[in-house]
């Protein structure tokens, strides 16, 4: 079967895998993971053009990949994965990470089943809404004492709040990179970025960020779920946020620097937001140092929100033992070794709106997770199910998986078609979902109709060999960012 996409043939390789043939300056083909149901959404915006643009990056190997939740971004599509070979002039591109560096998801288990919470849910949601700073500007759980303390956060990530008592050792075991990227170089983070970060350590932000109280609705792999610490009926908490203004400023600054510097490296790109330089160049190393610092900020941010969540649970239920299931980023570039054509190759793997999904046996995983594989956290849209998946062997797209349902509708369209924030809140309440939002006016921006069907996205992930379903979680409470 052939289907025309932007005058380029999209060839079907399997029921859920499509190939965008090389054309023009593309160095590798594009590969899109989608079912026939998801394909119109992929074709409906400019994400395929962006998949093709990414394929022109120097040093890119294998393919420019699009996850099942791919949608129109800037430079890279959101849901894009691209790896470049470091020793062959492979580049790093801030646009391949995105503005919200190390934006990610963390899942906490609780000792409660839904029945045990009883009618305390509204009180719990009030306590969480009061404890979790949301919205624009300053306002955070942690009051940073001075610039030096922020630099410490950029260096030590989640290790810093844990060392102060705002967390436990297991929080580090179950966090990607044990909560800290040692390659952080805070000197590469601008003064403007530092100033944006000072008032935001321990805050959700706005847009699609959220804290959800969820219930394990269905366990699809009991053995793996047990290793992850999940069982049917269990109450969980999912937190989605990133590096706030600091990470955005790092991206802004380094795209600007690289768009000036890349010409010295003989690099031209079809979209300035794809500005890039060789990984091994001074500018590339500077960005990777700043990126790691911003990622550490994001992990510390989620750690402080975790402590605030535990404190809120403690106030309402008398229990604060909410163990971390996992914390994984979906906006990041990392130096990883992958096997290509029978040999191990050092790659710079960009995942923008895509989740790392290491298979069983990966040495980077904590010892208890290594036999089963890495947890992959895939939030649905507000009011719909979220999923826990696990990385599979051999995996695909450099061990990557989708990161969510994926938008199909702009925020304006979602507002225009919706019936207002109070109506949406009431509809969700009828479904047993308590919503807490700082402003009901922008609540419809995140309405479920603005997103793809998460069930279909997850089904495609599984069928395409990107991950395997472990548990389905349904929301019972939302604190909207």
């Amino acid at each position: 079967m052939h289907t025309e996409v932007s005058s380029s043939p999209l060839q079907r390789e399997s029921a859920v895998r499509w190939r965008l043939e090389r054309r023009g300056q593309m160095r590798v083909p594009g590969v899109v993971f989608a079912s026939e149901r998801l394909l119109p959404a992929v074709q409906g915006d400019r994400s395929l053009e962006q998949v093709a643009n990414v394929a022109t990056l120097p040093g890119i190997v294998t393919a420019s990949f699009a996850m099942p939740d791919v949608h129109w971004g800037y430079g890279f599509p959101i849901g894009g994965v691209a790896a470049t070979q470091v020793d062959r002039g492979g580049v790093v591109s801030p646009g391949g990470v995105g503005f919200d560096i190390s934006c990610g998801v963390r899942l906490l288990a609780t000792p409660f089943d839904r029945d045990h919470l009883g009618d305390r849910l509204p009180v719990l949601m009030d306590a969480l809404a009061a404890a979790i700073p949301t919205g624009m500007g300053r306002g955070a759980v942690w009051q940073v004492s001075d610039r030096d303390e922020l630099l410490r956060i950029l260096t030590d990530g989640a290790l810093y709040p844990v060392s102060l008592g705002y967390g436990e050792e297991r929080d580090l075991d179950r966090c990607e990179d044990r909560g800290r990227l040692p390659s952080a170089d805070p000197a590469q983070v601008s003064d403007r970025a530092i100033k944006r970060g000072l008032g935001q350590v321990g805050s959700l932000g706005s847009g699609n960020h959220f804290l959800e109280v969820q219930v394990v609705d269905e366990v699809l792999d009991a053995a793996v779920a047990e290793v992850f610490g999940l069982h049917p009926g269990q109450v969980c908490v999912m937190i989605h946020c990133g590096s706030r203004g600091l990470g955005h400023q790092v991206c802004q600054d380094h795209v600007r620097h690289m768009s000036d510097a890349m010409h010295q490296h003989g690099i031209e790109v079809p979209d300035r937001q794809l500005a890039c330089v060789p990984v091994t160049s001074d500018e590339g190393q500077a960005y990777l140092g700043a990126l790691a610092a911003a990622a550490n900020f994001a992990r510390a941010n989620r750690q402080w929100l975790t402590d605030a969540t535990r404190a809120a649970f403690d106030r309402v239920t008398g229990r604060r033992d909410l163990p971390l299931v996992y914390d994984v980023s979906h906006n990041l570039a990392k130096i990883e070794t992958h096997r290509i054509d029978g040999r191990d190759v050092e790659l710079c793997v960009h995942r923008k709106g895509a989740t790392r999904a290491f298979p069983p046996g990966a040495s980077e995983l904590a010892s208890d997770l290594r036999p089963v594989g890495q947890p992959v956290l895939l939030p649905g849209s507000m009011g719909t199910a979220s999923y826990v998946l696990v990385g599979v062997s051999p995996g695909d797209a450099f061990a990557s998986c989708a990161h969510g349902a994926g938008r199909t509708m702009s925020r304006h369209e979602a507002k225009r078609r919706g019936h207002g924030g109070p109506h949406l809140r009431d509809v969700l309440a009828e479904q047993g979902i308590e919503v807490r939002a700082g402003s009901l006016r922008d609540l419809p921006e995140e309405a479920p109709m603005a997103y793809k069907d998460v069930e279909e996205v997850v089904r495609v992930c599984e069928q395409a060999g990107l991950g395997r379903r472990v548990a389905r979680l349904r929301p019972i409470g939302v604190v909207k960012g």
Binding site: D100, G135, G137, R196, S206, G207, G245, S439
Partner: protein, 142 residues
């Protein structure tokens, strides 16, 4: 959402995940002012909010640098100082512009959408047409 006159105006266009701002005016500086209006309207209702802080911001560079630099400044002030522009004036200088910003306290304005966080170069346009009218189009990460 669109505000237009025969001379100048702005609009916020749909983008799957973010916001596309368009602005136009009879001069580069007027277009830059309208771009700030578009950015603010995308996330805040500042009607009735008084200013509490005034800033003078010099910007230098080519036209694109000025546009990105100005929007980046507004985003920076929101995160760093809780400031939201309620009035803006842009004047030409040698090699750039001088921006006057009157900021309201963020806590005194009503949020109406996701806050802007970054300015993308993807699809960015800022140019003067044959009739001498300036137009810009820029995607903002939210």
């Amino acid at each position: 959402m669109t505000l237009t006159s025969s001379e100048r105006g702005y609009a916020v266009r749909a983008h799957t995940a973010d916001e596309i701002l368009e602005a136009w005016g009879p001069s580069r500086e007027a277009c830059l002012e309208e771009a700030v209006h578009a950015l603010v309207e995308s996330f805040a209702d500042v009607s009735g909010a008084g200013w509490c802080c005034y800033l003078e911001v010099p910007l230098a560079g080519d036209d694109v640098d000025l546009l990105v630099g100005l929007l980046d400044e507004v985003i920076f002030r929101l995160d760093a100082d809780d400031g939201v522009p309620v009035r803006v004036r842009v004047r030409e200088t040698r090699g750039g512009v001088l921006v006057d910003l009157w900021l309201a306290d963020r806590r005194r304005v009503t949020g109406v959408g996701a806050a802007p966080k970054g300015v993308s170069y993807s699809g960015l346009e800022f140019a003067e047409d044959d009739a001498g009218r300036w137009h810009c189009r820029v995607t903002v990460d939210v």
